[in-house]
Symmetry: C2
Subunit: 510 residues, 2 copies
């Protein structure tokens, strides 16, 4: 008899429908089928892949009401947010389809032969990117659509021509199954094999471990906690054949506010900050966790304003019990530190579990100079919690920044006439994205978006999980030397039948 687990409504703590647990045997079967389909070239047709991505977008939109309804009950996220996230998910699938139409993502390079080259004659060398192989995707609980079953990892891997095996997130199993069904249908509509996509739902870690270990898997995409991402990284590194792991993990997304900016628009900054910290329970990988605020009266007033606003936010529903418990523990540890002061309503907890899994938005404060002593001040608090670090001068500000590890983002609120080169440099040195006079949440899906950063923001500082260059994670270069025209892929033939941009003898051309 099949083993099952139940979804849980985090707004009430009540169990929902039962879902069947995938097994290690299911993983092996899905991975073997994916590898076979891949090796047989059954994902090689770029137009078919583009059609499948567009078809998935169209189908997900059509199934939007049902998906959003189930998703609300599994995540406690509000309908408007989920509708927006669904549209983002669909837009992302379509953007990768457009990337396939344009075709230059293969980064074709042609170096024509030069028999007179020194010290040795130069052969004809033609290089392009080709897909790596089957990819395992671990979706995130906090973006049940855009970073999960049909999220950025899945979209970019399928675009690259890699089969995808999704480890379905147990925090939104019903959402995952609905989405997976639409993706599978879209692949079938486009004539691609069923084995190109699998959704393996499991509440434990066995299935995920089996995926990472499976010899057919060529790369892993992951969005989630630092502990989870690191465990997968380490496991993949120990394989007989190590494989790349693109884990997008924790971040405290520091924000620096200058005195001049505070003088000019403290209220607007506080308003934006509170929204960025508390929207959707603060459960975003780019939620600001630390704000570096000047000491002194203006900073005090700003801190009090932020605290009062957060205090006024109703207790947030968190995605699941585990996250709520982890946040409580982390906040308790933080609040217990002697240098930390709870601001306003911080520390107050909502009622019993009959209210589901909730946490009060809260602000804490500590001297920036204390950062050297305790890394707890720089820990991620996954939820509607912010730490204000108060600095007395630029040296103290820089000393605190220097203690901050790799980040997804760093933000700066400053005045146009201020000299902030040193701050921009300090933020860019440790973050994948530097945001000016704004907030890091709401990562736009643009061609060049960088959603990544040095460890521990990710396990691969060279890559991004949002934006068109995310596709590179699942591609490897192959060069053809002195190949006859007829054996070359169309991307590398003399006549450039696809009309793509290529680098020929060092110059970009089409």
């Amino acid at each position: 008899m099949a083993v099952t687990f139940n979804s849980v409504d985090p707004r009430t703590g009540a169990p929902g429908p039962a879902y069947e647990e995938a097994t290690r045997d299911d993983v092996r079967a899905a991975a073997a089928a994916a590898e076979q389909a891949f090796r047989a070239g059954r994902l090689a047709d770029r137009d078919a892949r583009a059609a499948a991505l567009r078809g998935a977008a169209q189908r997900l939109r059509a199934a939007g009401d049902a998906i959003v309804e189930v998703c609300e009950s599994e995540t406690g996220l509000p309908e408007a947010r989920l509708r927006s996230e669904l549209e983002r998910t669909c837009g992302q699938l379509e953007a990768f389809a457009a990337l396939l139409d344009a075709g230059d993502y293969v980064e074709a390079i042609i170096d024509r032969a030069d028999p007179a080259a020194q010290p040795i004659p130069q052969p004809d060398v033609r290089r392009m990117l080709v897909p790596l192989g089957p990819v395992a995707v671990f979706g995130a609980s906090n973006f049940p659509l855009a970073f999960s079953t049909a999220g950025g990892d899945t979209a970019s891997a399928l675009a690259a021509g890699c089969p995808v095996l999704v480890k379905g997130h147990p925090s939104h199993p019903g959402t995952g199954e609905l989405v997976a069904a639409e993706v599978s249908a879209a692949l079938a509509d486009a004539g691609l094999p069923a084995a190109a996509f699998a959704h393996l739902l499991a509440s434990g870690i066995d299935v995920g471990e089996a995926l990472v270990d499976d010899p057919a898997i060529a790369a892993v995409g992951f969005t989630g906690s630092t502990a989870g991402g690191r465990a997968i990284h380490d496991r993949a590194a120990r394989r007989d054949v190590p494989i790349p792991v693109y884990a997008e993990m924790g971040s405290i997304n520091p924000i620096v506010v200058t005195e001049a900016a505070l003088r000019d628009r403290a209220g607007a900054i506080a308003e934006g900050l509170v929204a960025s910290v508390s929207n959707f329970g603060g459960q975003l990988c780019t939620k600001p966790g630390v704000v570096l605020v000047p000491a002194g009266a203006a900073g005090d007033a700003f801190a009090a304003d932020v605290a009062a606003r957060l205090n006024g936010v109703p207790p947030s529903v968190l995605l699941n019990e585990r996250l709520r418990d982890a946040l409580r523990e982390a906040v308790d540890r933080l609040a217990a530190r002697p240098e930390v002061r709870a601001l306003g309503g911080a520390g107050r907890r909502p009622g019993s579990d009959r209210d589901g899994f909730r946490h009060q938005a809260a602000a804490y404060e500590a001297p920036a100079a204390a950062v050297a002593d305790g890394s707890e001040l720089l820990e991620e608090h996954f939820g509607p919690v912010i730490v204000l670090l108060r600095w007395r001068d630029r040296d103290e500000l820089h000393a605190a920044l220097d203690r901050i590890e790799g980040q997804l983002s760093g933000s700066l609120h400053a005045q146009p006439d201020e000299d902030v080169a040193d701050l921009v440099e300090a933020l860019a040195a440790r973050a994948g994205r530097v945001v000016f006079d704004g907030f890091p949440t709401g990562v736009a899906v643009t061609y060049g978006m960088q959603h990544g950063g040095p460890y521990p923001a990710t396990t691969s500082p060279l890559h991004t999980s949002v934006g068109m260059t995310a596709v590179r994670r699942f591609l490897r270069p192959v060069a053809f030397q002195n190949a006859p025209q007829h054996v070359l892929p169309p991307e590398l033939r003399d006549e450039n039948p696809l009309g793509i941009w290529r680098r020929v003898d060092g110059e970009l051309t089409r």
Copy 2:
């Protein structure tokens, strides 16, 4: 008192001059200085880096006689080869300087703001590649110039703007010191800090381990054995902050010969093969180790011809005693297998160690069908040794190819009118480069050259250690969101002051 070790002339086994061993303290000091120089932006001037690379090339050419003389005595490689390798090394440094001049290697992407975008307004996002940080380089023994102290890893990392700490190879310490002195002088001439480059010479593994462990090191480049590369990969993966390891390791570089090609030009193929196998003692990472040859009379004649030619090659001087001993052992293991037949003079050994470290070029033969039984047939033999695998039909040929792991290269000798799509696909599926009607040795430094491949050819199938895209290994993307023009790097400003190619709103332009 400083600890020293002596170089050894592999042609005689006689010791040469003594060289001082670097220590773990030297590593820490060099890494800290490199990090400080990097963080202070002292390598940020692209023109200065280009000047330093060109200056290094000029200086290495000027010092060529002295370098080649020492190098001959340390490696036993012939003067003509070393002069050619030195020119290749210089040309490579200059090619990366030209890459800096052109400037588009930063892959600038500009997505202009779109307030009307759905589901959320699109901010202005501008992304480019920036250097990772200090890089540790482990040079190879077999290319004492082009893949060592000032080789491709060093050139590409310096081009990227990363300080370089070379673990000097103990098999050519004097060469390394001479080369390092010229690189350091060139950096000084260009106004770059001394800390941007260090040469740490050591005969043991301590210094290398300290380099991989040092928190200031952001990436590792390595060329050498599978065991060495894997050990570094595993060590780097265990760090508190894991770092990318670009290890270019073993390869058997399979060659497929069709019956039609054999009928047309067996002699020419044998001649080219023997040169590719035996030149420079066969000590090249792209030396063919396995040739898949048809069974039957034409194949028999080809095998006999190859064996006779190899038999006529005088015993090769190998780079050092360790490599010679390892080759002997591996060949003994191979020859002891029941399915393996020594061809012609195979198995014959040159005289005593008074002749230095030598090995006779040799060919062995086995049925391709035996590959399934013993991986020893697919082991790398680092030296002038080749295994001919005899296949009876296409199925047997494919079955053997399917057992071959990731490779730097795969080659195909076929006739223009043959249908070889299946073979090209099989080779491209497991190799970074597919060579037609030629031999994989002599990797040309062209823009798009791919010298890499799936594991165990490398630890990073996404990258190359030769060609202009090698620079990517040491760069990470940073995006600036809604940044005022004056804080943006010139590469990302509206007016494009550097005139580089950029992707603006999805379209390539300058």
